[in-house]
């Protein structure tokens, strides 16, 4: 409770500071002498090249992309990633309004606007890297923790579009579309070496090379290696002499290596990624042996993506894309010393084509088509020795989709954005999802958006077909897709180039939610379209960026989500979220202090208890160019060592899984 009050106090304090500060900033500039620009006009071009300018943070330009988007959009830049010491994509999402992150010490999960059931596979957000879909075709999961296939240092920006996105993107764009855009080779113009060290014997090394060549070709190449030994942990549910009194060591290990290569030339971009991540499982999930270091999951991802973009005149643009992905999951689960191998293997290829045209000055039309051929959607489970096969399910399927969206300029300040997409899946059939948005700009700087949209999540092969005697599960090939309908009203206010405020209210209704229940007829677990969830909420956000580098963002979200069949509130659904991000320039342009305060209210657990509310403070001291081309940072996460936990899933004995206390990290990046 004290933490809650403290958190609110800090949020209010900084909020007030941010509003008062500009007056202080303006007061000082009244007494400079000669207008420097007049002196500049007497300089020759060579001399002008030597003039150093005061940095104006052009990131403060709130792009048209955000104001005219038929949704509530947030953008996180590489600059923020460095200044707040974000280690993973989940750290980035955690800083955003509406998002709640939970970690079960194996995978990281994201909940949006109150929905994020413990153990859900993140299949209700669409994750993309440079527009390439990154939800696999076996579990449709979005990997957002250390399992995310791209090093966070390679991110140029993350664009998060809240709300139903199926009218453009199809499957999984249920609550949000998260597109991670990687840096361009031309931004590096050389090599970059980076090293990190942190708590629990954690290290990361990265080497990157990027350049823009004279012939116009751009290349980016990077490789990273990460290894963390992990902390010794205590789980009270295992506090018995037979299970080492609840203490487990060397089981929370986490390591990955990944590479990325990207080449662009004359409208073509070829991108390839390979990543492999290994995680130990300290929680002894699925009834496995406790304190057994051989319990682990390995997630590998390969993809190659070839994209072609071309503008034909100023009113027509075409995009074509071809891709091929392989997702390979291997889990080792030890039961009384017997190794159980759990495998998932997905491979798919596909293509998309999109045409964007401006017609009659009033219509911005986008028409597209997609095809995906799922070559393999395989699941296998067997005991190694003595050999016993439990699951050997191999599937293939395909999907075909077409979509159209029109942004109509009804009046100069009134836009209607209407879109619809038709998806046909060889597994369950077809689904149609529309979206409508009215965007009204009564005066310059104020935007009102009224949105309605529907989205779907296709049942995946795990839910459709998995039968396993060992875990008492059976498949359900008759599953239908889940559907969500969302209504949202957004008000955005921009003041100058440096202040932005947003207030939104939303309501969503999910039908045919797929949950795992026990069939009374045979006692087996099965997935069914049984649940209905309704939620309503409101959010507010204020963001300010000042010339001297001081930035601040504070947001508050409220949501009430409940299962409309049972009337019960949802598991792992925090009603209140408060997020504060402040960057303070300690030495102008060179040294910054990034402060993050995150407040999450209590969340119901599967057992009907509550994981208590928690309040986290993260601090990062970041410096650039104290020595030329050198970036240094030191971060403290969970500064107050607050003890908190996240609700466990069905596979966990633990009702609440304890999270990390205070963790530190130091990082060094050098450019050549």
């Amino acid at each position: 409770m004290k933490q809650l009050l403290h958190g609110m106090f800090v949020a209010v304090y900084f909020g007030v500071l941010l509003t008062l500060l500009p007056d202080a900033a303006l007061a000082g500039t009244g007494d400079e002498t000669a207008d420097p620009a007049t002196d500049l006009t007497t300089l020759s071009p060579e001399e002008l090249m030597k003039v150093e300018v005061a940095t104006v943070y052009s990131a403060s330009k709130f792009e048209q992309k955000v104001t005219e988007a038929p949704a509530s959009v947030s953008i996180v830049t590489a600059d923020e990633i460095r200044k707040y010491g974000y280690r993973t994509l989940s750290d980035i999402l955690r800083s955003l309004r509406s998002f709640n992150i939970t970690y079960d010490r194996n995978y990281t999960f994201v909940g949006v606007r109150g929905f994020g059931r413990a153990g859900d596979y993140n299949s209700r957000i669409l994750l993309q890297v440079d527009g390439h879909r990154l939800n696999d075709n076996v579990y449709s999961l979005a990997l957002i923790g250390t399992e995310f296939p791209v090093d966070v240092d390679l991110i140029d920006r993350v664009e998060v579009v809240r709300g139903p996105g199926s009218s453009l993107y199809g499957n999984d764009a249920f609550f949000a579309v998260v597109n991670v855009i990687t840096r361009r080779g031309g931004d590096l113009r050389g090599a970059e070496l980076s090293g990190e060290a942190g708590s629990f014997d954690t290290y990361k090394a990265r080497a990157t090379y990027g350049n823009l060549f004279k012939n116009g070709m751009e290349a980016l190449l990077s490789g990273s290696y990460y290894d963390s030994t992990g902390d010794r942990l205590f789980f009270k549910e295992f506090d018995a002499p037979a299970t080492n009194n609840g203490i487990t060591d060397h089981t929370d290990y986490d390591s990955f290596y990944n590479t990325l290569a990207k080449f662009s030339h004359a409208g073509f971009t070829l991108e390839g990624v390979y990543s492999s991540r290994t995680k130990g499982i300290p929680t002894a999930s699925y009834g496995t042996d406790f304190n057994e270091p051989r319990n682990k999951t390995v997630d590998d991802w390969w993809f190659a993506d070839l994209k072609y973009e071309r503008s034909l005149g100023s009113r027509l643009a075409v995009t074509g894309r071809l891709f091929y992905d392989i997702y390979d999951y291997r889990g080792d689960y030890i039961y009384s010393g017997v190794v159980n191998k759990d495998l998932g293997y997905g491979s798919w290829w596909g293509g998309e084509a999109k045409v964007a045209a401006t017609l009659l000055d009033r219509h911005k039309l986008v028409v597209g088509a997609e095809y995906q051929d799922n070559l393999h959607q395989d699941q296998k489970n067997y005991n190694l020795d003595p050999y016993e096969l439990f699951v050997d399910d191999r599937r293939n399927s395909y999907l075909v989709a077409g979509y159209i969206q029109d942004e109509i300029t009804i009046f100069r300040n009134l836009l209607l954005n209407a879109g619809v997409r038709y998806d046909y899946y060889s597994t369950f059939g077809s689904t149609v999802n529309p979206r409508l948005a009215l965007i009204y700009t009564p005066i310059d700087g104020s935007v009102i958006k009224l949105l309605y949209g529907s989205a779907f999540r296709a049942p995946n092969v795990y839910e459709l077909y998995l039968q396993s005697a060992s875990t008492g599960m059976k498949g359900n090939p008759d599953l239908k897709p889940e559907k969500i309908k969302t209504y949202e009203l957004i008000y955005e206010q921009y003041i100058g180039n440096s202040i932005r405020g947003t207030v939104t209210g939303f309501y969503y209704d999910i039908n045919d939610l797929i949950i795992q229940v026990t069939d009374p007829a045979d006692g087996l677990l099965v997935f069914r379209n049984l649940d209905d969830v309704k939620a309503e909420g409101a959010e507010a956000e204020l963001e300010e960026k000042w010339d001297n580098g001081l930035t601040g963002k504070v947001s508050y979200s409220f949501v009430h989500a409940e299962n409309s069949a049972t009337g019960q509130t949802l598991v792992n659904s925090p009603q209140h979220l408060v997020k504060l991000n402040v960057t303070v320039p300690l030495i102008r342009d060179k040294v910054f202090l990034g402060i993050q305060e995150l407040l999450t209210s209590r969340r119901k657990t599967l057992a009907g208890n509550f994981a208590k509310s928690y309040y986290i403070t993260n601090l990062t001291l970041f410096s650039q160019n104290l020595l030329k081309n050198l970036e240094l940072s030191a971060s403290l996460y969970n500064l107050y060592d607050y003890k908190y936990g996240d609700p466990g899933g069905n596979e966990h004995v633990e009702d609440v899984i304890p999270q990390d206390g205070r963790v530190f990290r130091v990082k060094l990046t050098y450019r050549f």
Binding site: L40, P45, M49, V53, G313, N548
Partner: protein
């Protein structure tokens, strides 16, 4: 409790420090827009328009700005100055108007979707196009500013300039980055 209080005090001090930093009367460094305006003045001096093909009559040279570029305000510093025997006039055009009568046209970042159309409308005239958005040089803008650390640089697309009949002086070409999309 005490360490927490200490940290909180550090936050407050740092915030106050930042406030002080912002308000102290340090000599105002020129902004990137001031430097770009000065460069544009130089471009007016060091670019040759084909004789008789200047957009305006008499002794005026119009420097027009399309799109809500913050540069517009900084350009007031060169209003009325003489370049190549002509007096500079700054005109801030609203985006939908035709860009006639401008010898120099600056296209702001907000117009990046319209760039193709804008370049089409000045295609057959001898207009020096200038921008400060990444990629504009490749797309046919003749001189495009970019930032390198804290200094203003520019890239020149000599083919685009040549097609409009403009001759860019070698003293600009030798300090510029050359870009050349066909």
């Amino acid at each position: 409790m005490l360490p927490r209080l200490l940290i909180f005090v550090v936050f407050m001090l740092s915030a106050v420090f930042a406030a002080g930093e912002a308000s102290c009367a340090e000599p105002r460094k020129p902004t990137e827009h001031d430097v770009k305006a000065a460069f544009i003045f130089n471009f007016a001096k060091f670019v040759d328009w084909p004789p008789g093909k200047l957009q305006e009559s008499g002794t005026i040279m119009n420097v027009c700005v399309v799109g809500d570029a913050p540069l517009g305000a900084a350009l007031e510093a060169i209003e009325g100055k003489i370049a190549g025997g002509k007096r500079i006039k700054i005109k801030l055009e609203p985006p939908q108007q035709s860009q006639g009568n401008c010898s120099i046209l600056f296209v702001g970042d907000s117009e990046k979707e319209q760039l193709g159309r804008i370049l089409e409308t000045v295609k057959n005239a001898s207009v020096l196009t200038i921008g400060d958005t990444k990629g504009f040089g490749q797309q046919g803008v003749m001189i495009n500013f970019f930032m390198e650390e804290k200094r203003v640089r520019f890239e020149i697309n000599p083919k685009a300039a040549g097609r409009a009949g403009l001759k860019v002086s070698s003293n600009l070409l030798k300090i510029a980055r050359i870009v050349g999309a066909p």
